[in-house]
């Protein structure tokens, strides 16, 4: 018999006008014992609402208006508050998206993990702690016997997320709800967390609901998938079937958006003079001290070239300094050292020292589409300003150009007198793009322009960017943490780690055959849209992924050394040399191309596992 049975579930929200509006309607599914069901959809699809309804909970202002939710035969929607507390404390557990926000920073982890069972008097403290340590071990947490004594800020984000799962598993719940548990994690950390979750769920035969927007992640963990859109179910079926032969048109578009096709790179004449050249760029925050060092270094010795009309992808995880790079090139943050040249002419580090023409030729588009638009200005006013500022167009001329710009980014004219708050996320990002285009720039710095958007909307923006590049001959610096996005847009790629350039080269080469150990780790950490991908990852890679958070190196030595599987003696002291490899990529590493290749092939065969020597153990 199924453990969870939901039928006709209907949740409404009390609207401003008093009339309730539907958030989800007509939801029905069942979950067998030991099965993992994924709820997948974009923001606003109602996936979290449904997950919370399984706890008998509706968010503030919302109400479970109809339908039944049965867990183990018991109707959840009609329980009294005391019974609900019992249900949530013992039988159904919830793992939230942001573990960092879910832990109390001033209590030790062990106290928080065991709090639930101790509070309910389910087991004495010693037994609870012993059980917690077992779960820590099952979730592959480092030092399972001692990690409980730490405070939340003393462990990494990936570890915290697993600790939260440990908290949920303490009571051996019948049902665990994972609500986007890896969305806030970096891609190299995500692999290990996913793996730990899956092992724990399998071992314990736990029934689980996994809420996510990411099909590739869901493919690794779920037995069945429910596709949601705008509060209604679009399709449901076994994972393999949904991925291979989706029946619904929306599922098809989700699948298409999850795997953007690589850009057909137009062969640029490599002799073309570079539009932007950057050499030895070092930047950070705080005042430079006597030795010329920054108190908070973010970027160290970055060099890059962008030719007219080409696109450079800058890839890095959070804290890698990729946004700082865009701000330095835009002039918003003056570099501490290094040179920049635009069309062969030296580019001043500060905005004040740049000429109007230089300012016009470099435009920046930010990640958060909504905060980049002045909430008090209409779309027309936002788009008119660069026209008046750079081109000194007359009013009538401005009005004509603004309409052309809207056309260019495929927005309807009806939006002209709208305020930003009246636009959707995708529309806002199009207005941001149009504002940058109004300057008629040679180079647009795109800082994570699709990260705050839903998959399908983001894919449309990427398409638009590619089209604009073709039609207007724009050069792009495309910054992202997502390799698939970069793959879809760029012909050259640069990989940053903790403010240092690790590898740079033609997109195809860096993406398909990454040479640097970090580039390799990054490329192999991206979930693929096929079940079983997660099982194919070997232990070495998991061990690498377990590394601590990326931190800028205090000296010139490689910042990746603590996580690197192939590090050598000089790695700990000497700055790595820049090597040009035969396939055309530049790699910052002490290892030679032959050494790296040999190491990779041994891994591919997975016969030899390169021993991971931890830095601290050797010292």
């Amino acid at each position: 018999m199924a453990l969870v049975e939901v039928s006709g579930l209907h949740v409404t929200a009390q609207g401003d006008g008093g009339a309730p509006s539907d958030i989800v309607r007509d939801i029905g599914f069942s979950i067998d014992r030991g099965e993992v069901l994924a709820l997948i959809g974009e923001s606003g699809s109602g996936k979290t609402t449904i997950a919370l309804a399984l706890l008998g909970y509706a968010r503030r202002g919302c109400r479970i208006a109809g339908g039944t939710v049965r867990i183990g035969g018991e109707e959840v929607t009609t329980l009294s508050p005391a019974e609900l507390s019992e249900l949530r404390g013992r039988r159904v557990a919830y793992v939230a998206q942001s573990a960092a926000a879910a832990f109390n920073p001033s209590l030790r982890l062990m106290d928080q993990v065991t709090e639930g069972v101790r509070m309910r008097g389910l087991m004495p403290r010693a037994a609870a702690e012993a059980k917690a340590r077992d779960i820590f071990r099952a979730l592959a947490l480092p030092e399972p016997d001692r990690i409980g004594a730490r405070f939340p800020h003393q462990v990494s984000g990936g570890q915290l997320q697993r600790l939260m799962a440990a908290m949920a598993l303490m009571t051996d719940p019948e049902l665990v709800i994972f609500d986007e548990p890896t969305t806030a994690l970096d891609v190299t950390t995500q692999v290990e967390v996913l793996r730990a979750f899956r092992e724990a769920v399998r071992e314990r035969h736990t029934t689980a609901v996994y809420v996510s927007h990411d099909l590739a992640v869901v493919a690794q963990i779920a037995d069945r998938i429910v596709v949601l859109r705008d509060g209604a179910m679009r399709e449901t079926g076994p994972t393999a079937r949904i991925l291979s032969e989706p029946a619904d048109s929306y599922t098809k578009s989700l699948l298409a958006a999850a795997a953007p096709r690589p850009q057909q790179s137009q062969q640029q004449p490599s002799a073309a003079a570079p539009l932007l050249e950057v050499h030895g760029l070092t930047a950070g925050y705080g005042r430079i001290d006597r030795q010329g060092r920054l108190p908070i270094p973010v970027l160290r010795d970055i060099g890059l070239e962008i030719r007219a009309g080409s696109a450079l992808g800058v890839i890095g995880e959070s804290g890698s300094g990729k946004s700082t790079l865009a701000r330095v090139v835009a002039g918003l943050l003056p570099a501490a050292a290094g040179t920049m040249r635009l069309d062969g002419v030296a580019l001043a580090p500060t905005l004040e020292a740049r000429g109007l023409e230089e300012l016009r030729r470099i435009q920046i588009v930010f990640q958060a589409a909504d905060t980049a638009l002045n909430p008090a200005h209409s779309v027309e006013r936002i788009l008119s300003r660069p026209l008046a500022f750079y081109h000194r167009l007359s009013r009538g001329e401005q009005r004509r150009r603004v309409r052309r710009l809207l056309d260019l980014v495929k927005l309807p004219m009806a939006l002209l007198d709208r305020l930003p708050s009246e636009l959707s996320g995708g529309q806002k990002q199009r207005v941001n793009l149009a504002r940058a285009l109004a300057a008629e720039p040679a180079l647009i710095l795109c800082d994570e322009v699709t990260s705050s958007l839903d998959t399908v909307v983001g894919a449309a923006i990427l398409e638009l960017l590619a089209e604009l590049r073709r039609e207007l001959g724009l050069a792009l610096m495309f910054i992202s943490h997502d390799l698939a996005t970069v793959r879809a847009v760029c012909d050259e790629v640069m990989i940053l780690y903790a403010g240092q350039m690790m590898e740079r080269g033609p997109g195809g080469v860096v993406m398909q055959a990454p040479q640097h150990p970090y580039a390799d780790l990054l490329a192999s950490s991206i979930p693929e849209l096929r079940p079983g991908w997660l099982d194919g990852i070997d232990a070495t890679r998991l061990a690498e992924a377990r590394g601590e958070t990326a931190r800028p190196s205090p000296s010139d030595r490689c910042a990746f050394v603590a996580r690197c599987p192939v590090r050598d003696k000089p790695c700990e002291t000497e700055p790595p040399p820049l090597r040009r490899f035969t396939k055309g990529s530049d790699v910052h590493c002490h290892r030679t191309e032959q050494e790296l290749l040999a190491q990779q092939s041994s891994r591919a065969g997975s016969a030899v596992i390169v021993p991971l020597q931890r830095l601290d153990r050797r010292a």
Binding site: L373, F389, P412
Partner: protein, 280 residues
């Protein structure tokens, strides 16, 4: 594509009931301040009744005061002082505070440090004590009262405006404007200020209430508006002995002060509901 979903969304411009009531009351008070003397049945100084502290009657709706003057007329004449003086003082305080606050937020560095410490110093002096010292030093007159009230409320307004401007200054759309090459004046007038208006109006209302209370308090002590003129605070003081006879003369000006401050507060509540996203 969901890009087009928002096109048909209607614009909602609804006012909360509290805000509607607040606006109506504030308009009424402003009208009273402006036209009060023309509406008054008698002149403020005329002794119209031999009976002092007369109760409410048809001829004298609010009774008479300790000299037998018509209370309604006194109140209407006094509105000009209470509402008018407080308004001028608050406008001065807020304009000064906003200008300095934005200057601090945009310039940063030593400008911010100097202005910030000066505000700290001024804010550490209790308002009433500051008022007493000023009146003791310069005597009491309308300009002194207005300036004194304005100066004592500049630091609060400065701090509020600075915090707001700092927040907005760090937002991406301001960065975009700077990256475009815009001058500071444009950034302040076009990008920062329009987004401060709603919270600033809220702050203005709150400060106005404080100024009314400060000036009324000062008048109650006999250091504010001098006889034969009287603001509402002075009216309470003049007729304080009437409290033993339950005379309307002492209650009516007190109620008027309360009504004025409450109606402004209602208005603010309506505003702050809209601006909650901007102000923490």
């Amino acid at each position: 594509m969901s890009d087009t979903a928002a096109i048909s969304s209607p614009r909602r411009r609804r006012l909360s009931a509290a805000r509607q009531a607040g606006i109506a009351l504030v308009v009424a008070w402003a009208a009273l301040a402006a036209f009060g003397p023309y509406l008054a049945p008698y002149r403020a100084g005329d002794v119209v009744n031999v009976g002092v502290f007369a109760p409410m009657s048809a001829a004298h709706p609010f009774g008479t005061d300790y000299l037998g003057r018509d209370m309604l007329s006194r109140l209407l004449y006094g509105a000009r002082y209470t509402v008018g003086v407080a308004m001028v003082a608050t406008v001065l305080a807020c304009m000064g505070g906003i200008a300095l606050g934005i200057l601090s937020a945009v310039r940063k560095g030593w400008t911010d440090s100097v202005l910030g410490r000066a505000a700290d110093a001024l804010i550490s002096i209790p308002h009433l004590m500051f008022a007493l010292v000023v009146v003791a030093a310069f005597g009491t007159s309308l300009p002194v009262l207005i300036l004194m009230a304005a100066i004592s409320y500049v630091p609060g307004s400065y701090r509020f405006a600075r915090a707001l401007a700092l927040d907005i200054n760090a937002m991406d759309f301001v960065e975009v404007a700077r990256a475009r090459g815009e001058k500071t004046a444009y950034v302040v007038w076009e990008e920062i200020l329009p987004n401060m208006i709603v919270p600033l109006l809220t702050d203005f209302g709150l400060r106005f209430v404080f100024v009314v209370l400060l000036l009324s308090g000062l008048s109650f002590l006999g250091l504010g508006i001098q006889p034969p003129n009287a603001d509402w605070g002075a009216l309470v003081r003049e007729n304080i002995t009437g409290i033993y006879e339950a005379a309307p003369a002492v209650l009516v000006p007190a109620i008027a002060i309360a009504m004025l401050t409450i109606s402004i507060t209602l208005l603010i509540d309506g505003f702050s509901g809209r601006s909650r996203t901007m102000v923490r």
